[in-house]
């Protein structure tokens, strides 16, 4: 049974898994059936990430923009301030590139890291202080969670499927 395009997922079925291979099989199946889903795990797992959300994180684009901005900002700061009040110091040129490299280097790293942080909170939708309906405290300890959104008519089928895939516990909750 596939998720109908016109069906509105108003119910959440929470499957609690103890074994990762059970979970990844269930994810593959749920994904193939086009059900909206979220996987919770107590740690980062490439196995889960690659199954649930293949591809690379776009956070790296934020990083690249930040690093380039920092490089330009660092060089600009040192060059423009030197030109603003031209004063020869230590027998160096007014705009002494070797000394400016240090400022540019530090600013590249500083801005790159800060933009990475911005990318992280943006992509992870943080802060998000309200509990998700499918979340369970066990998912930060020793269990994996597969939370599937479905219409009320599909609840029983999804529930029994998750059990057959090895879910130790299945709960149905309102909302998505």
């Amino acid at each position: 049974m596939m998720m109908r395009e016109d069906a509105k997922p108003t119910k959440t079925v929470v499957g609690v898994f103890g074994f990762m291979d059970d979970l990844t099989k269930a994810i593959t199946s749920v994904k193939a059936e086009k059900f909206p889903f979220t996987v919770y795990s107590p740690f980062a797992s490439h196995e889960i990430e690659d199954t649930a959300l293949p591809g690379k994180s776009p956070v790296r684009f934020f990083t690249a923009v930040g690093a380039i901005t920092g490089l330009i900002a660092g060089f600009s700061l040192a060059i423009l301030t030197a030109m603003d009040y031209p004063l020869r110091v230590g027998a160096k040129d007014i705009v002494a590139i070797p000394s400016i490299i240090v400022i540019g280097y530090e600013c590249t790293i500083l801005f790159g890291a800060l933009f990475t942080l911005l990318g992280l909170v943006t992509m992870c939708r943080l802060p998000n202080l309200f509990r998700s309906p499918g979340y369970d405290a066990r998912f930060s300890d020793n269990k994996f969670g597969l939370v599937v959104g479905c219409s009320p008519e599909q609840v029983k089928e999804v529930e029994s499927s998750l059990r057959r895939f090895g879910a130790e516990d299945v709960e149905v909750r309102d909302g998505l």
Binding site: S57, G112, S140
Partner: protein, 494 residues
């Protein structure tokens, strides 16, 4: 398809792939037993829940020992604050700084704390990129140490400048005389390097903490704790999308922090090497400083980890193998540092420069030779005992050694700074350093300040990275017993 399979079949077909389905649905209790048994078999000793419990136990309500430690640290901060106040009221002459040694105790201590800070990010970022598993149980401690050590180090330029209320003169802003800071000066580079290091290290540290704070939130027993950890974890859930972006971002943070580790202490070393003072003007300074910083930082991690491990029963997580790995890193950097000392002497002789030659005669045989020999014993001789395998896992010995190394590394900076200024070019201007109680008071205060932050941190936030420890444990698998057996136990990969 997902829901159309009959309950009795033994496999399930999705998109042409066949997946086995357990023939019976077992009870929760049975499942739990299987889960625990399999996980223990893979990991040898600990399960996910035991990791969570062990680490969060550190955050249990404090007992007398913790309060005693906290008040000792606060008392030390009080001594430092009193000494600084006296210096602010009476002037910089209260410290031992006087001609010709205008960089003395404070800059020595500044470089010492920056060095301590250095290895936290090394352990965290560099070893992360190299996939060194022995970093896992200690890296949070090392990162906390980094941030608190930089916060301590950052006080010393302010203390050193005397008129602390003019600290903003270091900042790049257009002042009334239209003069900007001199970006050609290593001292301004240092401001940028240290402040960048503080910002990036803090970011790296806080980002690493978020998933673990979420674990603490889910185990919180009171609403105050739950509220505190909900706010500080930013509502982290550990969804697959969050972990995906988190892993990507963490790798990028590590990639940025790694060159920063090298650059920050290189720039600190340029404070000296860019000048023409004998004993300072050396191209070997950046690698020599970086190695020294790793040496002292890893030693400080040991100084902190050993009592914490004992007091909070963390022996199953911070294991002897981890101390063995840290000892090897100490031994490596000890030899790099010793080689650098020897190179300095060799280059002074080879250069045939009178002033360089005199400086390197003065250090071991001059009137401050005691400082040189303390450094030499603590940094070059004593750590050589780590060649003995038994001593690399002897906790008592390692604790004593780590303290000696930290003393030695403080004296290394003292030798570089003070001895070089004591006997430079013109004998007329030679002189010694007059230690004052204000110097010592501020040094004690800095240790109190650092210790106070560490003491508070370990009661409020997870001191060991719970999620990353779980990450290196092999995941529980129902269907494939071979999975995760190779090199995946919680001990380090050698």
């Amino acid at each position: 398809m997902l829901a159309s399979q009959p309950l009795s079949v033994q496999s399930l077909s999705v998109s042409g792939n066949t997946f086995p389905i357990p023939d019976v649905v077992v009870s929760d209790a049975e499942n739990e037993i299987v889960f625990e048994r399999r996980q223990k078999r893979y990991t040898g000793e600990v399960t996910y829940t035991e990791v969570t419990d062990t680490v969060l136990n550190v955050m249990n309500p404090p007992k007398g020992g913790w309060w005693a430690l906290l008040f000792t640290c606060i008392a030390m901060v009080g001594i430092g604050a009193w000494a600084w106040t006296v210096q602010i009221i009476n002037g910089i002459g209260e410290s031992g700084k006087s001609h010709p040694i205008m960089w003395g105790f404070y800059i020595t201590t500044f470089v010492f704390w920056v060095g301590i800070a250095h290895s936290g990010t090394l352990i965290s970022a560099v070893l992360y990129l190299f996939r060194a598993k022995f970093r896992m149980p200690i890296y949070r401690l090392a990162e906390a140490m980094t941030v608190f050590a930089v916060l301590t180090a950052g006080l010393f330029p302010l203390i050193h400048m005397g008129r602390v209320w003019f600290f903003y003169w270091l900042m790049p802003y257009p002042n009334q005389r239209a003069l900007w800071p001199n970006f050609k000066s290593p001292l301004v580079w240092d401001v940028f390097a240290v402040s960048t290091y503080l910002t990036v290290s803090s970011t790296f540290f806080i980002v690493g903490l978020i998933p673990d704070i979420a674990v603490a939130r889910d185990r919180a027993k009171t609403w105050v704790h739950r509220w505190l950890y909900t706010i500080t974890s930013l509502g982290w859930r550990g969804s697959h999308a969050q972990w995906k972006h988190y892993s990507g971002a963490y790798l990028l943070f590590a990639a940025f922090a790694t060159p920063l580790v090298v650059s920050v202490h290189s720039v600190v070393s340029w404070d000296f090497a860019m000048s023409i003072v004998p004993g300072w003007h050396a191209t070997i300074f950046p690698p020599y400083f970086v190695a020294g910083a790793i040496f002292s930082g890893v030693a400080m991690v040991m100084t902190l980890a050993i009592p914490l491990r004992k007091v909070f029963s963390l022996e199953r997580i911070i294991r002897l193998e981890h101390f063995d790995a840290m000892s090897k890193l100490i031994l490596l950097t000890c030899n790099v540092v010793s080689y650098s000392y020897a190179t300095e002497f060799y280059m002074a002789w080879f250069s045939n420069n009178t002033f360089e030659r005199y400086q390197f005669w003065f250090r071991p045989f001059g009137f401050m030779a005691w400082a040189f020999w303390i450094m030499f014993f603590c940094n070059c001789v004593f750590p050589q005992l780590l060649w003995i395998k038994k001593l690399r896992t002897h906790i008592g010995f390692l604790f004593v050694l780590s303290i000696f190394i930290n003393i030695g590394m403080w004296f290394e900076r003292f030798n570089i700074i003070t001895q070089s200024l004591a006997a430079d070019y013109i004998p007329y201007s030679w002189g010694g350093y007059n230690f004052s109680w204000v110097d010592w008071g501020i040094l004690i205060g800095s240790f109190g300040w650092f210790g106070m932050q560490m003491t508070l941190f370990l009661k409020f936030f997870p001191i060991i990275a719970i999620c990353e420890i779980k990450e290196i444990m092999p995941p529980p698998m129902r269907g494939n017993d071979e999975h995760g057996k190779v090199g995946t136990d919680a001990s380090p990969a050698h």
